[in-house]
């Protein structure tokens, strides 16, 4: 009997919640219409100091809100909310792969107000074509100190649609203490790197931790190699993508070198199925001697979750040159990729743009970023040099300042997203040897046609 009673009560409760759920919605819409009329009234009376409560939604690709870039973003959001008490900012954050998937889902209908974007054709072309992002007035940003050329990827037909967050440089992070303890030296050319890899492996340590499960770090590695082979790669890549013909000897050579590298065991066992976190953890827990990743991870040096012994000894170098290659070590794989934009359909466009501009005030993203050991921003950061930079930060600044050329957008991001998807999946096959170099190049070429 008691059981029956319990079931009955439960059922009633559930129906009640269901009903109240519906009711709640109704009242909410009523509220909205009421506030709308109020708004009209206030506008009619031209009383401006009672600010309407506004909720901005931010969709971010930085799920770790306590370290590095995510921390910086959250700090700025908190600042903004405390300076504008009528504004509430809700953040939805997913890691990069999940972010891009969800972004496309959102793109079909209704974007959040402020979103993370990438100023690269693979991401932006279709997005801009669909008119999802709000054009910005470029003249407004003249004195924001953007590094020259950094806005290019975010433009279409002369109009600016987003702002870059970082200047990304790709390189090998290495554990300096581990290198010294074992008598290893930073390789001066690519052959030395491969020899060093063998030595490290014999010592029972992973030579290079590679996030091969995602595909894009491998594609950037390929870009990096292509720069070593041919120096300036922009024309080769854009030609190949325009024609779908990837048989250019430089591309073939770079791909062969990548496959050879992967099969020589430079990366950890099972690299082609392991994700970002796994690769990074191998390195930060002293299981791997090197980690191939971008400058945005320079904040590792300040991450308290990483043991002091490792975190204080992280250094970096760029891809070493290859024999007979046209590119030098100072020709770096670097680009302005990630950034922010405002959704065209946003109902609070003005506030969203205001917030966007707030983020890019030089003393926000650039300053906070620098203080938190994140890599370089896309703006002039020289004013915020404190002398307390981590060694990593100084190294990356030097790398960038001494660069003789910059690769621009990595190869996988230069084509349409079908190309990107195919390339990032097939590159795993060419690395682990299940696909030949020729097959790989013809398959990715096929997607460009």
């Amino acid at each position: 009997m008691r059981k029956k009673l319990l079931v009955g009560i439960l059922a009633v409760c559930m129906t009640a919640t269901l009903l109240s759920g519906c009711k709640g919605k109704e009242t909410k819409t009523e509220d909205a219409s009421v506030s709308a009329t109020q708004q009209e009234q206030t506008e009619a009376e031209k009383v401006e100091d009672t600010a309407e409560p506004i909720t901005l939604t931010v969709f971010s690709n930085l799920p770790d809100r306590k370290n590095g870039q995510g921390l910086v973003e959250q700090k700025i959001i908190d600042d903004y909310m405390s300076e504008n008490p009528n504004v509430t900012i809700e953040v939805e954050a997913l890691d990069e792969e999940a972010y891009k998937t969800k972004f496309k889902a959102y793109a079909m209908n209704g974007m959040p107000d402020v979103v993370s974007i990438w100023g690269q054709p693979s991401f932006l072309d279709e997005v801009l074509e669909a008119g999802i992002l709000e054009p910005l007035n470029e003249a407004d940003y003249a004195d924001y100190g953007f590094v020259s050329g950094s806005l290019e990827g975010f433009k279409k037909d002369g109009k600016l649609y987003g702002l870059p967050r970082n200047t990304d440089v790709m390189g090998f992070y290495y554990n300096q203490k581990m290198f010294e303890d074992n008598g290893w030296e930073v390789p001066k050319n690519y052959d030395e790197l491969l020899v060093l890899g063998k030595k490290i492996k014999e010592a029972g340590i992973v030579p290079v931790a590679m996030d091969g499960g995602d595909g894009w770090p491998l594609a950037i590695y390929l870009t990096d190699l292509l720069v070593r082979v041919d120096g300036n790669i922009k024309d080769i890549v854009s030609n190949a993508i325009a024609t779908g013909d990837f048989t250019d000897p430089s591309i073939v050579e770079a791909t062969k070198l990548l496959a050879k590298t992967a099969q020589s065991g430079l990366f950890q066992v099972g690299y082609d199925s392991q994700d970002y976190g796994t690769a990074m953890n191998l390195f930060t827990n002293g299981q791997a001697a090197m980690f191939y990743m971008g400058s945005w991870e320079a904040s590792m040096a300040l991450n308290e979750d990483i043991s002091e012994e490792v975190r204080n000894n992280i250094r970096a170098f760029t891809m070493p040159p290859i024999t007979d290659g046209k590119g030098a070590q100072t020709d770096i794989a670097a680009w302005n990729g990630g950034g922010y934009a405002v959704a065209a359909q946003s109902e609070q466009k003005e506030e969203a743009i205001k917030f966007l501009n707030y983020m890019y005030q030089p003393d926000k993203l650039s300053k906070y970023g620098w203080e938190n050991g994140v890599g370089m921003s896309a703006q002039d950061q020289s004013a915020y040099m404190t002398g307390n930079e981590t060694n990593l930060q100084n190294q990356f600044t030097d790398i960038l300042n001494n660069a003789t050329s910059v690769s621009g957008t990595p190869i996988n991001d230069c084509g349409p997203s079908v190309f990107k998807t195919a390339m990032e999946s097939e590159i795993q096959s060419v690395c682990n040897g299940t696909k030949s170099v020729d097959d790989f190049l013809s398959v990715i070429g096929e997607t460009c046609k």
Binding site: K104, M108, V206, G215, Q268, V269, D272, T421, A422, Q428
Partner: protein, 291 residues
């Protein structure tokens, strides 16, 4: 009574909620899929009609073929690895009495109630070549080589092991119930005839379990076809497309490669395959039953 039981309005009111749910959640999306399946549509902006081009493309799509092949491998794995073990364990469990029986049954079923999200991430760690559980076990047995459990040739089997492990309790439980339903008199008779346990199992348990086995096998094959969540989190179809499955592939194409139209075309073909296989299996088994 008859009048009361054929009141059209009452009937309508009783079945309407069910029909509405069906229309809204199953029929409408399928129709929409058919529509978008004939479109060249990125998911944003304009859609242009392209007839059956998507389906032609699908015919030549090696990744989709691989996905179907993987479903087949998975089904084979379920039927020839998971089910025999489950059946034998169920038969063995049947011999136990009292608390031990309940304990084992409970333990076997526990993985089944755990979320796929947890299972997939857990097994990522278990398989990790550098610090994973399996390679640590091998190491403690003296095998020093690091094995890559997700290398292209064996990745699909590694996925299979996870699925077998996860679904083992379910299959076992159903066989167990089937065995419990067998009339004990039959066992007594065979004991009097002097049959040993193995013969009893082969001559009595197995034939009587045939309908249960058929249901279980049908469900396993369909589950293999519909597989998505574990693969999505464990390998996302990689490396290459070596662990690709139809559901995962259509999701990737629509939300990753900006080919919403193509994704829908895959969805339609996928639905048709599922329908054909389900109906096919049912007719095969029903005919057999009647024969």
């Amino acid at each position: 009574m008859k009048k009361l039981y054929s009141n059209k309005l009452v009937i309508l009111s009783l079945v309407l909620p069910g029909i509405l749910v069906f229309i809204f959640a199953i029929l409408a999306p399928i129709c929409l899929s058919v529509y978008y399946g004939c479109m060249d549509y990125s998911g944003m902006g304009k859609a242009t009609f392209n007839g059956i081009d998507n389906y032609k493309m699908l015919l030549r799509d090696a990744a989709f073929g691989r996905a179907l092949l993987n479903s087949l491998l998975l089904a084979v794995g379920f039927v020839f690895i998971q089910h025999p073990i489950a059946l034998i364990v169920a038969a063995v469990l049947d011999k136990l009495q009292g608390k031990a029986e309940g304990f084992f049954r409970c333990v076997y079923f526990i993985p089944n109630v755990i979320s796929v999200a947890v299972i997939a991430y857990l097994w990522k760690f278990i398989y990790n070549p550098d610090f994973g559980l399996i390679n640590n076990i091998l190491k403690s047995l003296g095998y020093q080589e690091k094995i890559n459990w997700f290398s292209p040739n064996i990745a699909i089997w590694s996925v299979l092991i996870v699925l077998i492990w996860h679904g083992f309790g379910w299959g076992m439980l159903i066989y167990y119930t089937g065995i419990k339903n067998i009339d004990p008199v039959l066992y007594e008779a065979s004991a009097i005839d002097g049959a040993n346990q193995a013969t009893t199992f082969l001559k009595i348990t197995l034939p009587l379990m045939k309908p249960v086995i058929q249901i279980n096998v049908t469900m396993a094959i369909i589950a293999a076809l519909k597989q998505m969540e574990t693969v999505y989190l464990l390998t996302n179809g990689g490396p290459g497309n070596s662990t690709q499955f139809a559901a995962n592939y259509l999701y990737q194409q629509a939300f990753k490669a900006f080919r919403y139209g193509y994704g829908n075309a895959i969805g339609i073909v996928f639905i048709i395959i599922c329908l054909v296989v389900t109906v096919g299996l049912n007719t095969i088994f029903v005919e057999k039953k009647e024969a």
